[in-house]
Amino acid sequence: MMPAAIETHDLTRRFGDRTAVDGISMCVPERSIYGFLGRNGAGKTTTIKLLLGLLKADAGSARIAGIDVAADRIGAARKLGALLEAQGFYPHLSGYENLHLSRRLLGLRAREVDRVLDVTEMAQHGRRRVADYSLGMRQRLGLARAMLGAPEVLILDEPTNGLDPEGIADMRSFLRELPARSGATVLLSSHLLGEIEQVATHIGILSHGRLVLEGALAELKAGLAGEVAIQTDTPERALAIALDHGFDVVRDQHDSVIARFTPREDLRHATACLTRVLCIAGGIRIHAIAPRQRTLETLYRHAAAQ
């Protein structure tokens, strides 16, 4: 098992009666890109604030690069760089000055600012006031600030927020190369499944404050039940017949019948069986039959439904 860059154990945080983070035990392997998924209000930002020591846990613990956040917040923070939703730049100062202030507080050498500006391709805009920056430039500057001092762990909260398609593509390729280039581990919080799917090596899915699924993305997708979409004139009847014969079927919003098969089943053979049941036993006329791709969206929907 790979060593963990971020590890939590039964991490819990309540706000009054509401449990925002409910006993999360997550493990982010070193040098991974960990997609942290969940709908708005699922508890992603609260978890991130707990990892950064901005909030105190009501129960459980969090460790960054082996350092307990509650016991040694400053030690854990030394291992971290973060791009938060609220970037917190001083608009009356230039991008360079903003990074310079953070650099001084971190006790780093002056040339570190030039390095991160180069890495994020912001060097030519460094002398402009942040007030004049576009949203995309602010995101890049936020990323540059998170990378000051080459931290072992980067926590990026919605880094593609407000970026145009070109900016999103740039950010994606940048993030993909990051672990290999700098050795950093990236915790990437987002609700954009497509983006996460293209860059993440691991995922964790939060739902109502609980971690409902976690693991290597490729393994999770391989282990996902296969799905076949069947189009027919009589979806209601097809659904009833399939259910009668013990198939796991549902009807989707496009009136297709979706049949789900376990990973152990041979998808082609199982589909043929179902087709026979529908056509021969039920007399159903099938217009089209097609396997559905095993996507992160499917995984997410399965996990969120739990």
């Binding site: 604030k49 950064l52 020591g53 901005l54 909030l55 105190k56 400053i74 030690g75 923070a77 030394r78 971290l80 973060a82 938060l84 609220a86 970037q87 917190g88 730049f89 001083y90 608009p91 009356h92 100062l93 000055e97 310079h100 202030l101 953070s102 001084r104 507080l105 971190l106 006790g107 780093l108 050498r109 570190e112 390095r115 600030r145 000051l148 001092g149 080459a150």
Partner: protein, 251 residues
């Protein structure tokens, strides 16, 4: 290439960063404008006169207007502007996640504000002297007479500054605690209002917004009491502020 920290973050660094943030800021503009307004008033007031005014009276009136009204209002605005430097762009999360003790952030802010207020007093002294000299040069008939006791004037402004520490602490605490500038402004305007309307009230000396003007009181014991209350009360309030803000969660 090594990116390792040169040293553990020190308080002096946090203070230097805080001073850097003032560059091109509205807070710095306010710090220059408030004493300038007093000097402009003194200048035009002297030009209105028919007879010369003694130096002592000119300087006393500058210090009185300052301590009575302009100082509490300026401190209210200054602390709100300095706090909004962080509240505005929502930079507290970023700052509080940095690997340094959180009290450094708040203490640096407090010292920075006290430094700016001290600089405002020095600027007031300089601009008042210039205003009086300039008015005398333009209209020799009203040129200030009598001895110019600069050290006494600086001493008075120094005591006004030291007695304003409690005022600075209260206003800064409220401004840092609340993301909206409304509570800080409401308290500051309300405090100044009561300080003005209750000038002769005996209990007025306990009002942080009225403590500085008590340095001009004819009763030396009252002035001394106000000075100690302002300074010691300010130190206690600032310490309490550091403990409170350093420990509280910013959601």
């Amino acid at each position: 290439m090594s990116t390792a920290p040169l040293q553990s973050p020190r308080f002096a660094t946090a203070l230097a960063v805080e001073i850097h943030k003032l560059r091109r800021s509205l807070a710095l503009l306010l710090a220059a404008i408030a004493p300038l307004l007093i000097a402009i008033f003194i200048f035009f007031n002297m030009l209105r006169l028919q007879k010369p005014m003694p130096w002592e009276m000119a300087l006393q009136s500058s210090a009185a207007i300052w301590a009575f009204f302009m100082l509490p209002m300026s401190v209210t605005a200054l602390t709100a502007l300095v706090a909004q430097t962080e509240h505005g762009p929502r930079s507290w999360d970023h700052l509080r996640a940095l690997p340094l003790p959180r009290w450094h952030l708040y203490a640096a802010k407090a010292i920075c504000v006290l430094g700016v207020v001290a600089a405002m007093h020095l600027l007031l002294a300089l601009l008042t002297l210039l205003a009086v000299e300039l008015a005398g040069a333009i209209k020799p008939a009203v040129a200030a007479t009598g001895p110019l006791d600069q050290s006494a004037y600086l001493g008075l402004l120094g005591r006004v500054f030291l007695s304003a520490w409690l005022l600075v602490a209260v206003q800064l605490w409220i401004a840092l605690r609340h993301a909206s500038f409304v509570p800080a402004l409401a308290v500051g305007i309300g405090g100044t209002f009561f300080a003005v309307v209750a000038t002769s009230a005996k209990a007025g000396v306990f009002l942080p917004w009225q403590i500085p003007v008590n340095q001009l009181a004819s009763d030396p014991a009252r002035a001394q009491f106000a000075l100690l209350l302002g300074m010691i009360g300010g130190c206690i309030a600032l310490t309490a502020m550091l403990l409170h803000l350093g420990r509280r969660e910013v959601r």
